[in-house]
Structure formats: C-alpha cells, structure tokens
C-alpha cells in the first residue's frame, strides 16, 4: 500500500543504480481478486473422481503384506497362486514356450535346427526315436545315452555320449523340452506331461549309468501311461 512509506512497494526501477536495465521494471501489483470460475471447480471434481478411482479399487485393503492391488478381504487374490496352473489353459502352447527356453541346454549339441551333427550328435528333427514312444525319450533325457545307435536307418557308430539331465531338470522341465522337441521342426508327437516323467523317474530311481541303445530297444514303442495333464 502506497500510504505506508516503509512498505516495499516495488514499482518502476532502481533508477540511478541500475540505469536503463530497470527502466522496464514495472510495479509489483497486488494480486487480482478474480474468483475461481465455476467450471474450474467442476473440472476439479471430475479430476477428483478419477483420482479416487485410482485409489479406491487399488489399495489392497491397506495391508502392508498385500502387494496385489486387487486383493481385499471380500475379494481375495484372483490370480492363480500356483504358477504352473496357467499350463492348464493351453498345455501345448505353454510347454512349447517353456520348452524352447529349456532347449538352450540341448541346442549346443543337437543344434538350434535340431539336425545335430552327422556322426557325432544325432538329429532330433524327423528322428524316429524322438517321434517314437515317450518312454524311451524320457529315459534318454533323464539318464543319458552312450554307445552305438541307429537313427532313421543311419548308423551312429561312436556318437558323443548324451549326458544325463535328470538331476538338472525338474519333471516339468523334461516334459516341456520333450514336448517342444516332439512338436518342432515339422515333428508331430504327443504331449509329454510331468506325471509321465515322474512315473519313469520313480521306476528307474536306482539307475545312475547312462542307457545304451540295445538296453532301450524294448521301450522303442512304449508309451508311459499317466494321468492326462490337468
């Protein structure tokens, strides 16, 4: 207020000190008293409703132990707790996707193309072993294989030994990778489930040595009987 000489009444400029720079300095004026228009308040309410929509449904009951925003005492967590239960939605898709990841273990020898290396690593693509009975396949993966074998009529007199994977891979992993191998590169084979793998593992739990070709001959066409995947 200009009636108070002591008050800070900013206005023109510091004429002498600051010379022309300040010629354009205008007076500080008191804020206007325009009222907030009605539509500002109205829009504010809309924003507040949207913001409430962010808060209300997402607090998880204000529980420090709940990180799922949708959980509350009345409506418990709708997501499957068992991570593998998702497989029931589409077992083949699931097994193919996960098996592809597990195949990284196999691809080093059998190659990404599944064609193997002639004379050393037998092919998986179009192989009569792979598309044959599930029991032999499971045994090979669980316990390994060594010695001469014959695949698609071609002799592998001294193939590189297949290391056992049973200790590294879970039943589900073995099932996934076998399903992947049996349905990739133009192969068509049935689904291998973790129950089937578990059944073979149980039957042969004493075995430590790798299989040989002749030992597995009886299982060439054998299918493991197990509950279908749920």
């Amino acid at each position: 207020m200009s009636d108070n000489p002591q008050s800070f009444n900013p206005d023109t400029t510091d004429l002498d000190r600051l010379h022309p720079a300040v010629k354009r300095e205008k007076a500080d004026v008191e804020s206007g008293t325009e009222q907030a228009p009605m539509w500002v308040i109205f829009l504010g309410f809309i924003v507040a409703i949207i913001a409430g929509g962010q808060l209300g449904p997402n607090v998880g009951g204000f529980d420090f132990n709940v990180s799922n925003p949708f959980a509350s005492s009345r409506f418990p967590d709708p997501r499957p707790v068992d991570g593998t239960a998702g497989a029931a939605l589409d077992p083949l898709q699931m097994a193919m996707k996960k098996g592809a990841a597990t195949y990284a273990l196999c691809g080093g020898c059998h190659q990404g193309s599944g064609l193997g290396v002639p004379g050393a690593f037998p092919p998986l693509a179009g192989s009569d072993w792979v598309m044959g009975g599930t029991e032999r396949n499971i045994r090979v993966v669980l316990h390994g294989l060594q010695g001469p074998i014959k695949i698609n009529g071609a002799d592998f007199a001294a193939p590189a030994p297949m290391p056992p994977q049973g200790a590294v891979l879970s039943d589900q992993d073995v099932a996934n990778v076998l399903t992947y191998v049996r349905n990739n590169w133009g192969n068509k084979g049935s689904l291998v489930t973790k129950e089937m793998v578990a059944a073979v593992r149980e039957k042969e739990k004493a075995r430590t040595a790798p299989w040989t070709g002749p030992e597995l001959e009886p299982y060439a066409k054998a299918e493991v009987a197990a509950e279908p995947a749920k």
Partner: protein
C-alpha cells in the same frame, strides 16, 4: 498518501538497488557455475543418446569411463545437482530478497563458500560415477559420504531465505512467489535427508528402497523444481507485463494443493510391483489429483498474460517464463498419464518416464530459470544483454529440442510399453523391443544436439555479461516483435495478440 509519491519511488529504488547489490555475489556465482554444468550435462546427454543408437561411438579401451551406464546417470545428476538446484537457489535468493524487501545482511561469504563446496561435491560425485563408484540409486548416485556436504551447502542458502520470509512484513498480503520459494527451501532438505538416511544409512530395505527412491525423485521434481519454477513465473510474468496476478484465490488453491499432494506421489512408478499395494495407489491418486493445482496455476498464468502477448514476443524474460509456465500444465498432464493405472501400466519402465523428467526439469523449470536469468543478470551487472540473435537462438533451439524430446518420449513410451505388455507379442525378444524404439532414440539424440547448441551460446552470453562486457545502453535488449521476418513461427496466438 502520507508521503509525496516521488519520495516513495526514490527510496524504493534505492532500497531495491541495495537489495540487488547485497545478493549479487552469490547469485552470479551460482548462475555462472550452473550454466557450466548445464552445458556439461547436455553434452554428456548428447553422448548418451548417440551411444544408444551407435554403441560403438567413442568405444575405445581408454574411454572406458564413457560407457552408457555411467554417462546417462552422470548426465542426469549434472542436470539436477549441477544446474537445477544451484540455479533454483540463485533465482530464489534474488526473488525472496526482492519480494520481502530485505537486503541479505549476513552470510554472503558463507554462501560463496557453500556454493564452492557444492560445486566441489558435485564434481567429485560425477567423477566418482564416471569412474565406477556410483551407488546406482537414481538421482542419488553420488558416493554415500557426499550427501551431508550437499545438504549443509543447501541449508546455508535456504536458512537466510526462510529467515527473510519470517522477518518480512506482509503489506501486500499473500506473496505467492515467496510462499512457493519458502516451500522449496523447506521441502528439499526434508526429501533429501529422508531419502539418504533411508537408503544409505539404514540400508537393506528390500523393495521399499526402490519405492523410497522413486518417491524422492518425484518429490524433488514436485517439491523443489516445481515450486521454484512456478514461484519465478508468478514473479516475472506480472513484473514484465505489469498486470496483477489474475486471481489470488486460484494462486492459493494451486499452492496448497501442491503442498498437500507433492509428498504423496512417486511410488506409483512401481504399480503392480512388490510394494504394499496402497503405496502405489496413493501415488497414482496424488499424481492424478495434481492435475487440479497444475491446471489452476496454468489458467492463472493464462489470465495474467491475456492481452499482453505482444510482450511475450519482445521481452526475453517473459518469453522464456511464459513458455515455461505453458509447459507446467503439459508436464502435469504427462505426469497424470504416467500415474493413472490405466495408462501408467503401459508407460511403466519406458522412456516416457525419462521424457517426464526432461520436460519438467527442462521444458518447464529450466525455461522459467532462463527467463529469470535474462531478467536478473542485467540488474546485477549493470549492462544489457549483448545480442538479440543469441537470445533468439537460445530460445528456439531449446523449444524445438525440448518439444522433440517430449513428443518422441511419450510416443516411444507407448510403443515400448505396447511391445512389452501386449500378450500377442509374447515371443517378441527384448532386443527387438529395443530395436523398435530406435527412431525415437535417434530423434532424442538430435534434440539433445539442438539443446547443446543453444546452451553453448547461452553460457558464452552469460559469461560475457558476468565479465561486465555487456552492452552499455539505455535501451533494454528486446526481441523484434515480428519473428516472421526471419521465417520463424511466432509464439503468440494470433487471435490473442
């Protein structure tokens, strides 16, 4: 009117001259150093952007300290601690002294010492990051022992401002810019101490550590950069246009809602993450609610500049402040998009967040600070800005650079989020997600190039001014009112001009 008006004006002029003189040293020191850091930050940001496109760029064995993982944080902390906070403190100090009508009586040399130590700490911190000593905590990458130094230096500046405010008599009622600056002086130490104590001293916090970090980053933006930028716009827009702030009521709403909401925000960055669900939910709510104060302030500035758009063209300070004030609602809108669960889930962990940091730090805050510098410096050094051309280059290169970064970051965020989240794209490999955003990264590199170019000239211009080599003239350096002469588009809306 108890006194003759002329007397009043004379004494006021003298007092203001004394105020300007009293803060001259610290303010100019902060401005010049900040401009150096700004240029350093933009150059490093340019390198980082180029490296994202061509990883082989500068990839020599002896340049091991220029890896992307080191220069990207170095770029951002140089922008925040090298440029943002010092320039904010300098502007705040000047505005607070002017607005409360008080000289800075004591503590000037202490302030200079604090400013020197601040710069030493930032230099040491950035070197440590480049040499591999980063703590890897976003915006707190400095080695752990540096934060008390920074905090004390900040307090050396903040304390005189707070006491100025406390001593001030309030003949003009609610001094909105002083309130914002007071808020910034109090909130930053609170945020900085809390975040550092929790993350560096307590430690071993698990997932909540990341939440606290996100809270800190958003808090610094909302409770330091926003108040200083808005406070400066609230001071300079009425000052240059000579119009009163349109509505005191809107100004109050904008301030108190920001004060109430700013500290609630941040954790929505980890929505759906392993934090207690209500924490991101509160962040999302606050992020959306902030639209109210942001929109109200934007509307208020719009009303204040109504009918004065000619001045926006001619006055450099108003032009920069106006543009900054214009970008405040823009950054608020982007923040609401990032915060709301519907859109945020898609933009989470994408470059859109980087876009928000850049738009709020550069498009909004830095532009307001440039406006302040163009106003303050001639009054402190007693000469006029040298070149209209340099100012115009600075403005347009900044505007186009920042505009490009904002637009491309948001679109890039949508693309990136879609690639990551869309169930149809489950077999899209991560490297393909990265390849898909390549065009946006290229645009970002170009934009940082434009901004770097503008900053080099700004720094040179500022240094010439500080060295006292400005124009000795009675006429202020104003931009020509018709940029059309140069084939450049005009900022003002034709219908409002």
């Amino acid at each position: 009117m108890a006194q003759p008006a002329e007397n009043d004006i004379d004494s006021d002029s003298l007092r203001r001259a004394a105020i300007d003189r009293s803060v001259k040293g610290p303010v100019l020191f902060l401005f010049t150093n900040a401009a150096f850091w700004l240029m350093a930050s933009t150059i490093v940001g340019l390198f980082a952007a180029v490296k994202q496109v061509f990883p082989d760029f500068l990839d020599e064995n002896w340049l091991w300290f220029l890896q992307y993982g080191r220069i990207q944080p170095a770029h951002l902390i140089a922008l925040v601690y090298g440029w943002g906070i010092p320039v904010g403190l300098g502007t705040s100090l000047w505005i607070m002294a002017r607005r409360t009508g008080q000289e800075l009586k004591t503590g000037r040399s202490l302030m200079l010492v604090a400013a020197i130590f601040w710069n030493i700490a930032v230099t040491a911190g950035i070197l440590a990051v480049l040499f591999g000593g980063s703590t890897s905590v976003e915006w707190l990458e400095f080695p752990k022992f540096l934060w008390p130094v920074l905090l004390i230096c900040f307090l050396v500046f903040a304390w005189p401002m707070v006491s100025m405010f406390a001593r001030a008599r309030h003949p003009e009622g609610f001094m909105i810019s002083a309130w914002y600056i007071l808020g910034a002086c109090i909130w930053f130490p609170w945020l900085f101490t809390t975040a550092n104590v929790c993350i560096h001293c307590i430690g071993d916090l698990g997932a909540i550590g990341a939440g606290i970090n996100a809270w800190y980053v958003n808090g610094v933006i909302l409770l330091f950069f926003v108040p200083v930028g808005v406070g400066s716009a609230y001071y300079f827009i009425p000052k240059v246009t000579g119009q009163p702030i349109a509505s005191q009521q809107l100004a109050k709403i904008g301030f108190w809602l920001l004060a109430a909401l700013g500290g609630w925000s941040g954790m929505q960055r980890f929505m759906g993450g392993p934090l207690p669900a209500w924490m991101p939910a509160f962040g999302a709510m606050a992020g959306v609610l902030l639209l109210i104060p942001v929109g109200v302030v934007g509307w208020n500035h719009h009303l204040t500049t109504l009918g004065k758009h000619k001045l926006v063209q001619t006055s450099p300070s108003l032009r920069f402040s106006f543009f900054g004030a214009l970008f405040y609602p823009v950054s608020g809108l982007i923040y609401a998009l990032l915060s709301a669960f519907w859109t945020g889930a898609n933009l989470q962990f994408t470059l859109a967040w980087y876009g928000f940091q850049v738009v709020s730090l550069y498009g909004f805050f830095s532009m307001c600070m440039f406006g302040a510098i163009y106003y303050i410096v001639p009054r402190l050094v007693g000469c006029e800005w040298l070149s209209v051309r340099l100012i115009r280059n600075h403005f347009w290169f900044s505007v186009y650079g920042i505009g490009a970064i904002v637009v491309t970051s948001i679109i890039c965020g949508l693309q990136q989020g879609g690639d990551i989240n869309d169930p149809e794209k489950w077999n899209l490999s991560f490297s393909n997600v990265v390849l898909n955003i390549r065009p946006y990264i290229v645009a970002r590199a170009v934009a940082w190039g434009l901004i770097t170019w503008s900053n080099v000239w700004f720094l040179i211009h500022l240094m010439l001014m500080v060295a006292g080599l400005g124009r000795r003239s009675t006429a202020p350096t104003l931009l020509p009112s018709h940029d059309h002469d140069d084939g450049l588009p005009s900022i003002s809306h034709p219908s409002k001009a």
